[in-house]
């Protein structure tokens, strides 16, 4: 049961949030010119790393804002949360 630091509201219980998977997947602009492979890659294929993951959360029962988190998927430790559009925080030196 995580404590998640909403970049707007501060530390809150995990059950106030929902996770929406990998962050920083930009929607292609020229969708018509993409191959089926490229389009499928954007829609379906994911890093799913064992380790550091940048992912999107939304403070569903709170301020309704979406933001990003940097989390280790093995220890579930959250190293940073940051607003959409903010620079990606660096990977931690001691991730586990």
């Amino acid at each position: 049961m995580f404590i998640i630091t909403c970049p707007y509201c501060g530390d809150r219980d995990q059950t106030e949030f929902t996770c929406h998977g990998e962050a920083h997947i930009a929607r292609p602009l020229n969708t018509e010119s993409l191959s089926d492979e490229e389009w499928g890659d954007y829609v379906f294929f994911r890093q799913n790393p064992k380790g550091m993951h940048r992912e999107r959360w939304v403070h569903a029962h709170g301020c309704r804002r979406w933001f990003n988190a940097l989390r280790n998927t093995v220890s579930d430790e959250i190293f940073a949360t940051y607003k959409v559009g903010d620079a990606r925080p660096p990977l931690p030196e001691n991730p586990s």
Binding site: G10, D13, T15, E16, H61, G62, C63, R65
Partner: protein, 193 residues
């Protein structure tokens, strides 16, 4: 056609003003007041100044707080979102002036007067009953008068606000459709705490 008096008489709230009292706590549905959602760029000084003018106060700028002056209260809901309680006016009378304070197309004002109802918890057990149903920490050190928080209570999404530290008093705002659920929950838990 119905006259204004009949109209008012026919008005309803989801809990029809129910109240419960025992065990060091009173729970009651508050008289309804009109409410507005205001979406705007609150980092813009000009917008804030204009809104302050209309609302008679600098609208709460800090997360998890509300501001209050005269007959209005402004709750922080999100970086670009506030909720205004109008204790005296109607939304219809106010909406235009609030809209005018926001640059055209760069925000929104929405009448949500009936969207919510407010249940008040008061008494020496109020804090305990409140903490029972929410993972949010309502200890006075972190949640004193002037503070508010959107969180969960049971399964409902709520806006909590702390009104008074001496006689612990809290408002719990909930959507109309969930009001009966939340009411039953609070009354049940009050009996257990």
């Amino acid at each position: 056609m119905a006259d204004q008096a009949t109209l008012r008489a026919g008005m309803a709230t989801p809990l029809s003003g129910q109240s419960y009292s025992s065990n060091g706590i009173t729970i009651s549905e508050q008289q309804s007041c009109d409410k507005l959602i205001v979406r705007a760029d609150f980092s813009d000084a000009a917008t804030v100044a204009a809104l302050s003018q209309v609302l008679g106060q600098t609208p709460a700028l800090e997360a998890n707080t509300y501001s209050m002056a005269d007959d209005k209260a402004v709750y922080w809901l999100g970086p670009d979102e506030r909720l205004v309680y109008l204790h005296a006016q109607t939304a219809a009378d106010t909406i235009g002036s609030v809209q005018a304070a926001i640059p055209a197309g760069k925000g929104a004002v929405v009448d949500v007067s009936d969207y919510y109802t407010v249940i008040q918890l008061s008494g020496q057990n109020a804090r305990d009953v409140l903490s029972s149903g929410t993972p949010f920490d309502v200890h006075p050190r972190v949640f004193g008068a002037g503070q508010c928080a959107q969180t969960r209570y049971g399964s409902a999404t709520v806006l909590l606000s702390a009104l008074d530290d001496d006689t612990p008093t809290f408002n719990v705002q909930v959507r109309w459709s969930f009001a009966q659920y939340l009411w039953t929950y609070l009354a049940r838990v009050a009996g257990y705490c």
